[in-house]
């Protein structure tokens, strides 16, 4: 192997990009080593520098300072040799969508110089491993998200590399495919003695790695075995039972606002609590009268703790959002009945029915391509339905989409901000787009700046803001006209866990004030934050109910206490079995 026996070594590596007039420091003084023969996880939110690090290791970028050595070769000087020895799967793997599975494999076999005599055996092995065997003649563009990802991996593995770099291979992939991808990675490490560096934004995947490198804003926060990370938090983590007269969200809000609490987050049926110091919980007055039990620290606790240490202060803000509009509960604000959307002969959404009530947080959970965004666009009146009934705020969207839109706030995955406009200009634009003027406009802008803590950043161009700020600004823009229905399309993907917690805190406050919230997500644990949710796959709703109900349906002898992910996997497998029958 390489230098000092390591597969990858970074020594004081800096990397800057200039985006227009500004410079972005993607990596700052990064020192790290990746051990051979194990899976090393590279974990951090978007913008942490994970992709830059991967590309440097693949010889696709040149470091500004420092040295990158891969398998004993200089990644800059001997880029071509490095590229002949490693496998690299970029975030959006370059599958040729108008080529079939087999043709994609052939191309990469040609490019990697796999001798024709060895191909048949290797293909058979890869097809078996990925389960793509029956689909070799299908065009890559017609595969599901999970299958595409597996084909991408197969193409990368067509010549067994010594080192495998995987850039966020599991993002947006359904949990079944995610589990399969991990199984493949483990097999490669075990059978082919491959070294793997895998980046992910899912913190729960840290525990699946032999070693973890935690990154944040271009720097390595910590590096070690995942189990070791949280050890110092022992005795500070508890699971608090929800008392019968309260709700999970209310308890979480109450706990998280207390000094001395690092983290309070809904986990399954209880609230997980992380304390700032190891104190006897019996002396902590907020826990009086509550049932709690100590639990093992996990990786995410450590991440939150180290982020809190970095940005001491901040967080834990009570958001006064709207004057309370509580009232007639039980009224269905959104009614969807047998909704359909066809594209040609493909059903993106098939027979979807659900109701959302005033002040409810309703989640649509599913992988990329499950039909969540299509459903959303129809609800916002952006896409006409092919069939079924659709009423939002009592208005039939087929007749009066514009009237309904006045009462809807929409925040999209990409945040839809004008990057070159400043924070204030973005707010002004959205205020005028919603027809606010004069005093009211001024009031709303002042409200947005204050509530979303954007006051210091008024003049900054929104493209220059950190992701967490962008997300806040986007939410502020969607709320300018005080809508009573809020649509959030993947609002938290890629932001760091602190920003995610803060975001949900605001959403809870909005829901308390009577705003109806419809949210899509592919983070399984976020489903727990919803009052009710629908699990979607291939355009259909597989299960609908409260998180407890959805999980209860998946309870079995093997999994007496299923997580949302277990429930999701059980539902998909059950659905596949029914389809096959």
């Amino acid at each position: 192997m390489g230098e000092g026996g390591y597969a990858i070594t970074f020594a004081r590596v800096d990397k800057c990009f200039s985006v227009g007039p500004r410079r972005v420091e993607a990596l700052r003084g990064v020192d790290l080593t990746v051990r051979p023969g194990v899976v090393t996880g590279l974990i951090g939110p978007d913008g942490a520098g994970k992709t830059t690090l991967m590309r440097l290791a693949a010889g696709l970028l040149r470091a500004d300072a420092g040295r990158v050595s891969v398998l004993g070769l200089d990644a800059d000087h001997d880029a071509l040799q490095v590229q002949s020895a490693i496998g690299y799967m970029p975030q959006r793997f370059g599958l040729y969508e108008d080529l079939s599975v087999q043709e994609n494999l052939d191309l990469y076999a040609d490019l990697q110089g796999v001798p024709p005599a060895q191909r048949a055996a290797r293909y058979a092995e890869l097809m078996h491993m990925t389960g793509l065997g029956p689909f070799t003649r299908r065009l890559a563009g017609h595969l599901s998200g999970g299958m595409k990802q597996k084909l991408g991996l197969a193409c990368t593995l067509v010549r067994a590399p010594r080192l495998l770099l995987l850039d966020e291979p599991t993002v947006g992939v359904d949990p079944v495919s995610r589990r399969e991808l991990w199984a493949i990675v483990y097999r490669l490490v075990q059978d082919e003695r491959m070294s793997v560096l895998l980046s992910t934004a899912y913190l729960d995947e840290a525990e699946r790695c032999a070693e973890v490198i935690l990154m944040h804003e271009g720097q390595v926060l910590s590096h070690g075995e995942p189990a070791g990370f949280g050890r110092y938090l022992a005795g500070r983590t508890f699971a608090v039972e929800v008392p019968p007269d309260s709700s999970k969200r209310a308890l979480q809000t109450r706990l998280s606002e207390r000094a001395g609490v690092i983290d309070a987050v809904i986990q399954k049926e209880h609230v997980r609590l992380v304390l700032a110091e190891a104190i006897d919980p019996a002396t902590f007055d907020v826990l009086h009268g509550l049932d709690y039990r100590p639990v093992e620290p996990r990786f995410e606790d450590h991440f939150i703790a180290s982020l809190r240490k970095q940005q001491s202060g901040g967080g834990g803000n009570g958001t006064e959002v709207h004057a309370s509009r509580h009232g007639d509960d039980g009224e269905a604000v959104i009614k969807v009945e047998r909704l359909q959307r066809r594209f040609g002969d493909f059903y993106a959404v098939k027979d979807v029915s659900f109701d959302v009530h005033r002040g409810e947080v309703f989640g649509l959970l599913g992988a990329n391509g499950a039909g969540k965004s299509t459903t959303f666009r129809m609800l916002c009146g952006l896409l006409p339905a092919s069939g079924g009934q659709l009423r939002v705020a009592g208005v039939d969207l087929r007749r009066a989409a514009a009237a309904a839109r006045q009462r809807i706030g929409y925040m999209s995955q990409k945040f839809s901000l004008y990057g070159s406009l400043s924070v204030t200009q973005n707010l002004e634009f959205f205020a005028s787009a919603y027809g606010l003027s004069g005093m009211r406009r001024g009031e709303r802008i002042a409200w947005a700046l204050e509530t979303f803590e954007l006051t210091g950043q008024q003049q900054a161009a929104s493209a220059d803001l950190p992701l967490g700020y962008k997300q806040r600004l986007a939410l502020a823009c969607a709320l300018m006209h005080e809508p009573d229905i809020l649509f959030l399309d993947e609002p938290t993907s890629g932001v760091d866990p602190l920003a995610r917690r803060e975001f949900w805190h605001r959403i809870n406050a909005l829901a308390e004030a009577g705003v109806t919230v419809l949210v899509t997500t592919h983070f399984m644990e976020e489903a727990e934050y919803c009052d009710r949710l629908a699990i979607m796959a291939a355009g259909e709703i597989l299960s609908l109910g409260t998180p407890t109900e959805v999980k209860a349906a998946a309870r079995s002898a093997q999994t007496p206490d299923p997580s949302m992910e277990d429930a999701f996997i059980a539902l998909i497998e059950q659905h596949a079995a029914e389809a096959a029958a």
Binding site: G59, L60, Q83, M89, Y96, D110, L111, G113, V114, Q118
Partner: protein
């Protein structure tokens, strides 16, 4: 188990893989086929039939102030030719109104003393007023009317058994395009434009598509060398471009009946040379523009439009201002238009063809050198 990145067999295998992939994509994605084969057909039909620089049934008003046998005879002779379609109008006022309204493009005014002046030597008894808004048509009308008038005078004289006393008898002979069909020179020029489009636009777009879809990043981490990547694009689109060329030439010969006086193999070689320049321009654009929209815009502005305006295909280079004339030397299409018009209409005129081909060769080498220098197997 794997071939080393520098071995010859490995390179051939990689190149073959890339070329095959590109052909699959071309076959399955209708947009490349459309640019290569549909675009030439549409452009040739539009230009071949729609644009004409010849006079053909131009509406003209005739005002005879005092109709007589002489005026009737002249009008009758004008009616015989296909260049004009005449309308007789009672007086000048009506004719002027018709011209204002754009119903006619010119007025032929025959004065009251038409018969008398015709027999004297006082000068022309006719007045021609031309709508000069469209300067080109205006010139064509005045030229044709003059010609028609001269011809009629001669006929009149001959009928009387007299010799018309004109000082010089001009007898023009037109070489190469003896019928003066503008189609004969437009269609070959158009082929140069089409080839620019196929070569530069298509290559720039398909490279940008690879960047956009993230396939380029995956290609870059394979042991493929940058020259193999470039060749992998060059070969398929060269073939496609020559296919489009063959189609255009076939249409020129069999649909528009443009003569081909030079040799076909010379035409093929010159086209191949020009196609290489166009492809190199496309590759160069793709190094700068990494999304399809920008690539399309850049290709349009730096290759297609200059070729259209400055190549001499529509507008004569010699009548451009000196600065612009100088500028046309960097437009590759200029040389190809010259070669095409020569091969189609004049034949294998070696001095013209060789000098222009040499210019194309220099441009091809230059562009490829820049592409090779600028193309990097890196993402920045």
């Amino acid at each position: 188990m794997s071939a080393s990145p520098n071995s010859r067999g490995g390179a051939a295998m990689r190149l073959r893989g890339l070329v095959r992939k590109e052909f699959f994509q071309i076959l399955r994605d209708p947009s490349s086929i459309a640019i290569a084969f549909l675009m030439p057909v549409v452009l040739l039909l539009v230009f071949g039939y729609g644009v004409s620089l010849d006079a053909d049934h131009i509406p003209i008003a005739v005002v005879a102030e005092q109709p007589s046998g002489d005026t009737a005879a002249f009008v009758a002779s004008m009616r015989h030719n296909r260049y004009f379609s005449l309308t007789e109008v009672g007086d000048m006022r009506a004719a002027e109104t018709a011209m204002m309204a754009g119903r006619v493009n010119g007025i032929i005014h025959l004065r009251a003393d038409f018969g008398r002046r015709l027999r004297s030597t006082d000068g022309a008894p006719i007045q021609v007023i031309v709508n000069g808004v469209d300067a080109n048509t205006g010139r064509i009308i005045s030229g044709y009317v003059q010609g028609a008038w001269g011809q009629w005078l001669q006929e009149v004289a001959r009928a009387r058994g007299e010799q018309l006393n004109t000082p010089v008898d001009l007898e023009p002979r037109v070489w190469f395009n003896s019928e003066l069909r503008s189609r004969n020179f437009l269609v070959p020029g158009l082929i140069a434009i089409i080839m620019t489009l196929i070569g530069a636009m298509l290559t720039a777009l398909v490279m940008a598509r690879e960047w956009e879809r993230g396939t380029m990043e995956a290609l870059m981490v394979t042991p493929v060398a940058i020259r193999e990547l470039l060749l992998g694009k060059l070969i398929p689109y060269f073939v496609l471009g020559m296919g489009g060329m063959a189609l255009s030439v076939a249409m020129a010969l069999f649909l528009f009946h443009v003569p081909l006086r030079g040799s076909l193999w010379l035409l093929t070689i010159a086209s191949a040379l020009f196609l290489l320049v166009a492809l190199a321009m496309g590759l160069l654009i793709s190094i700068i523009a990494k999304n399809q929209f920008v690539a399309g815009q850049v290709a349009l502005v730096v290759t297609f439009l200059p070729a259209f305006i400055l190549s001499g295909f529509l507008f004569d280079i010699d009548s451009m201002p000196a600065v612009v004339q100088l500028l046309t030397h960097v437009i590759a299409a200029r040389y190809f238009v010259a070669i095409l018009q020569t091969i189609f209409m004049a034949g294998n005129v070696w001095p013209v063809i060789l000098s222009n081909a040499f210019a194309l060769l220099v441009m091809a080498l230059l562009f490829f050198a820049v592409v090779r220098r600028k193309a990097r197997k890196r993402l920045e």
